[in-house]
């Protein structure tokens, strides 16, 4: 008698059906209903109005993801070259900031970037500002950094960079060293080893890193509110506004969430075509 291990999955499957699938079904239902509960497509017909918001959010999230990738990949790669103790310490150092709530860390950036903030005070005291003014003939009293799209991107990069580093690192560190040796023995130079062996093998980590940075970036509302000034809405702001903000309309909010979800899923599916199906990267 060999009891099947697969029955261990049953409780969680039920749990998922209840708390993962059912809520999402509810969002879909909401998206297709009006405030009296009847069926309607009206929520989607308005979607064209929000194209600008969609565009802006996807643009900023894309930039943030790219920056994270450009910084995160080399860092993960270099980390994996270091000694074991260094690696362990570096991992801890990358996880640790998450223990200070992201709202607080973002708030801290506010006091750094404000017109009268830390950075501008440093610029004033060191004379960098007057140097800039005399070079370009401007008369700035400060560098305007807060409430710009740049600040929002910075907030995204800052908050989600660890989500890029960790999965890439966890894949690279497990790479079979003998593959690299074999490639070298077969005459590949450093660039080729990287391009033809390491890079393709680390792709699952890259893909999962991209997902983990892009999704929260595209849907954030706290960061754009705090660093972006709230004058130009992002998708997250728009959704939050419909559910808990100034313009109560959960049906419209559900519809926007649904459209966003579909776009993200399509992006991910297309992207995952390039990677391997089964081999998912892990965060740690």
């Amino acid at each position: 008698m060999k009891p099947k291990l697969s029955r261990f999955a049953i409780p969680y499957v039920i749990w998922m059906a209840l708390f993962v699938v059912a809520p999402i079904v509810l969002v879909v239902v909401y998206a297709f209903s009006n405030d009296l509960g009847g069926f309607t497509l009206e929520n989607f017909s308005k979607m064209g109005t929000y194209a600008v918001v969609f565009g802006r959010s996807f643009k900023l999230a894309l930039i943030a993801t790219l920056i994270c990738l450009v910084i995160g990949y080399p860092v993960s790669y270099m980390m994996s070259r270091e000694g074991e103790r260094f690696q362990r310490a570096a991992m801890v150092l990358i996880m640790l900031p998450m223990w200070i709530n992201f709202l607080l860390r973002t708030y801290s950036w506010m006091s750094i970037l404000e017109n009268n903030g830390l950075l501008n005070q440093v610029f004033q005291k060191t004379g960098l500002l007057s140097l800039y003014n005399s070079l370009f003939g401007t008369s700035l009293e400060y560098f305007p950094m807060m409430n710009t799209q740049g600040a929002v991107v910075l907030g995204m990069v800052y908050n989600y960079l660890p989500f890029m580093i960790l999965p890439i690192y966890s894949v690279i560190v497990k790479l079979d060293g003998s593959l690299v040796e074999a490639a070298r023995d077969l005459g590949a130079d450093g660039v080729n080893v990287f391009r033809r062996v390491i890079l393709p093998l680390s792709l699952p980590g890259v893909l999962s890193g991209i997902t983990m940075v892009f999704v929260p970036s595209v849907s954030t509302f706290a960061i754009s509110k705090m660093l972006g000034g709230g004058t130009d809405l992002l998708l997250g702001d728009l959704i939050e506004q419909q559910f808990l903000g100034g313009a109560y309309n959960p049906q419209l909010g559900a519809a926007i969430s649904l459209v966003m979800m579909v776009i993200v899923v399509v992006c991910m599916v297309v992207m995952n075509r390039f990677g391997e199906g089964e081999e998912q990267a892990v965060i740690l």
Binding site: S6, L104, N115, L118, P162, V218, A222, G245, V282
Partner: protein
């Protein structure tokens, strides 16, 4: 060559770490600051740490955060490990499908997950309400509670749900790396599957479990958005408390508590790492304690012990859960939702000590946000403090309960001119809380001439230096008032004209940002020249920046009254009455007036305040300041109160407001 490379790579890593830690370092440094600024260092002190431990709001949210994170991590780790093993032994096709569903909470935007769960819970509660009423009517043996609400339970479910995928994702690959034949071999050799699990599988996947648990715990502590939608009114996590504060001013106590958390985790991780490193150095000889334990548990005696231990563990867990829920149920509570920094917090402590009723105090951003919270079911409060026009709307929608004025003797202290106002003409639903006016606050060192008109808010000269309201009613009111229209107009062309004024100004870059309580930090720090906000808040800002001035524009403005109301079906009606009566007392009104600098509706407090101020601070309260707090009649004459707008106009407001942000 190699060496230089190494130096270069270390330099890059150092830069990345600097980037990651600069804001945290700043935060830690300023937790030791004497003053309450996050920018200006005024000297070393430990005061914030001292006051942290007296701040029950923060301490309670820290407790909730740790409790929910620990419980959710424990449950998710066990459940996730078993689920991963289950998934692993499924056929590939089923597994892929389930893995996809499993990754939904991770792939999905937090805000969608949060919203979806909130909708689900609320829908379930409605269903449960109907079901239990029916069930209780057909039989008498078991009485089901008829009313379920969002709270710690739903918060925990949400956290478990988004934690499990991380555990599965870390355990899954470890299982796949494991030799498949091991389990079969163990079972062929006579192991039961339980033994196979303990002896074979567990040791193989332990690193995966550990890292999954760590990730889950970290995610739980860091989460804000999902908690925000699922925690309801009775429990708030640290992140939610912080969110309430980032709108105004994060008190350095939050810096202090974060520093403590940070240092604790750092110390823990260092210890764990050092031990692991040492264990590695001394070779395989020193087996980890857990391995020893598993071995011990496999002796025949151990098996009995193990069963016993399982029973004891389960029982103690259940008892803990019962005690926890019981402990929170035993003490009477009242759930209050108000605005940020809208109460002297000592009053909460005082009320709790006097009556033994615990106060859950939460804040909403604006009347509209409060309305959304109530409508979505995410906020089931007892007492709320909305403004005049919102009260009318809530009454219209039958959402408020009539008050039992016999339990609120202090209602008699309210000045007659604030009783029976348009929103509650028959005095059935409300007890006034505070009133004030809206006006322009500006930095005299940053503008050329004194400001007297709303035109300053649409003036290109101040481009990039103006702060506008982030709520539709107040923002539109500034434009309507400037154009000479009524603040309560329902005329679409007038509203569109006002909207266009705002939209054009926004497009010309006049507005630095749309703000609510963030305005404090921005005006106090000299980061913006002009803002529009509430009179009382101006005086608070003045304390931190003497260059600020306030004016109620010549065109007129809004005067508002915020009043305490009780929601229909409030679970703690009795406690709500006690709270309202306490807050309506002259002493509480004086304390609040001193803290908020909003005018009290309590006649005695209004009259006594100048004397109270003089006694407290040893200096006279100027007439000018008093007139800003409690606007004199000639100012009130040019102001208009908001009235509730018809549904159609409200929809127009919503549409215009969303359009403004596009």
């Amino acid at each position: 060559m190699k060496r230089r490379n190494r130096l270069g790579s270390r330099a890059l890593m150092a830069l990345v770490f600097l980037f990651l830690y600069a804001p945290i370092f700043l935060l830690i440094v300023f937790s030791f600051n004497k003053g309450n600024s996050n920018i200006v260092w005024t000297g070393f002190s430990l005061d914030w740490y001292k006051s942290l431990f007296q701040n029950r709001l923060i301490m309670r949210s820290v407790y909730t955060t740790l409790l929910v994170s620990l419980l959710a991590t424990a449950i998710a780790t066990v459940a996730g490990t078993f689920a991963a093993i289950g998934f692993y032994s499924l056929r590939r096709r089923t597994r892929t499908a389930l893995n996809t569903v499993n990754s939904i909470p991770m792939m999905n935007a937090d805000i969608v997950t949060g919203v979806a769960m909130c909708l689900f819970f609320v829908a379930f509660f409605t269903f449960w309400g109907d079901f239990s009423v029916w069930f209780n009517s057909v039989q008498r043996v078991v009485v089901l509670p008829e009313r379920l609400t969002l709270g710690f339970g739903t918060l925990l479910i949400a956290h478990v749900t988004f934690n499990i995928p991380y555990v599965i994702l870390s355990v899954g690959p470890k299982l796949r790396q494991m030799d498949k034949n091991l389990v079969d071999a163990a079972q062929d050799l006579g192991c039961t599957w339980m033994q196979a699990f303990w002896k074979v599988i567990l040791p193989e996947i332990k690193p995966g479990i550990a890292s999954g648990a760590l990730t889950a715990f970290t995610m739980s502590v860091d989460d804000f958005i999902i908690s925000y939608f699922t925690a309801g009114s009775s429990s708030s996590t640290l992140a939610m408390t912080i969110y309430g504060m980032t709108k105004k001013r994060v008190t350095p106590e939050i810096n202090a508590v974060s520093t403590l958390l940070f240092v604790t985790v750092l110390a823990l991780l260092v210890i764990v790492n050092l031990r692991e490193a040492r264990a590695e150095r001394s070779g395989e000889e020193r087996r980890p304690i857990s391995r020893k334990l598993t071995q011990m548990l496999d002796t025949p005696k151990g098996r009995v012990f193990r069963r016993g231990a399982a029973v004891v563990l389960t029982a103690s867990f259940l008892i803990a859960v019962v005690l926890l829920t019981g402990a929170t149920n035993a003490q009477p509570v009242v759930n209050v939702c108000s605005w940020g920094e809208y109460i002297d917090e000592d009053l909460i402590t005082q009320f709790e000590e006097e009556t033994g009723i615990a106060v859950n105090y939460q804040t909403a951003e604006s009347n509209e946000a409060l309305y959304s919270l109530l409508k979505s079911g995410a906020g089931d409060y007892d007492v709320i403090v909305p403004s005049d026009y919102m009260i009318s709307q809530l009454i219209e929608e039958d959402m408020l309960a009539e008050l039992d004025y016999s339990r609120i003797p202090n209602y008699g202290l309210i000045s007659d001119r604030f009783k029976g106002l348009t929103y509650d003409p028959q005095e059935r639903y409300t007890v006034p809380y505070a009133w004030g006016t809206v006006g322009i606050i500006y930095n005299t060192s940053m503008v050329e001439e004194p400001i007297t008109s709303w035109s300053a808010l649409f003036d290109d000269r101040y481009a990039g230096n103006v702060l506008m309201f982030r709520n539709s009613r107040d923002a539109m009111a500034t434009a309507l008032s400037y154009l000479g229209y009524s603040l309560n107009t329902t005329d679409e062309s007038e509203l569109r004209e006002a909207f266009q004024l705002l939209k054009d100004a926004k497009n010309r870059g006049v507005y630095q940002s749309f703000v609510m309580d963030e305005i404090f930090q921005k005006l106090e720090g000299g980061n913006a020249a002009i803002g529009v906000y509430y009179a009382g808040d101006y005086l608070t800002m003045l304390e931190n920046n003497e260059d600020l001035a306030f004016v109620v524009p010549e065109e007129g403005s809004n005067w508002f009254m915020d009043a305490m109301c009780v929601l229909k079906n409030a679970p703690n009606y009795e406690e709500a009455m006690a709270w309202i009566n306490f807050i309506a007392s002259t002493e509480a009104n004086l304390a609040n007036m001193d803290y908020l600098w909003y005018a009290s509706p309590n006649q005695e407090a209004l009259e006594q305040y100048p004397a109270y101020y003089e006694e407290l601070y040893g200096e006279e309260l100027g007439q000018e300041a008093y007139d800003i707090i409690a606007a004199p009649q000639e100012v009130l004459d040019r102001c208009e109160a908001y009235l509730v707008l018809p549904l159609e106009t409200r929809k127009l407001y919503n549409d215009l407001w969303t359009e403004l942000g596009i």
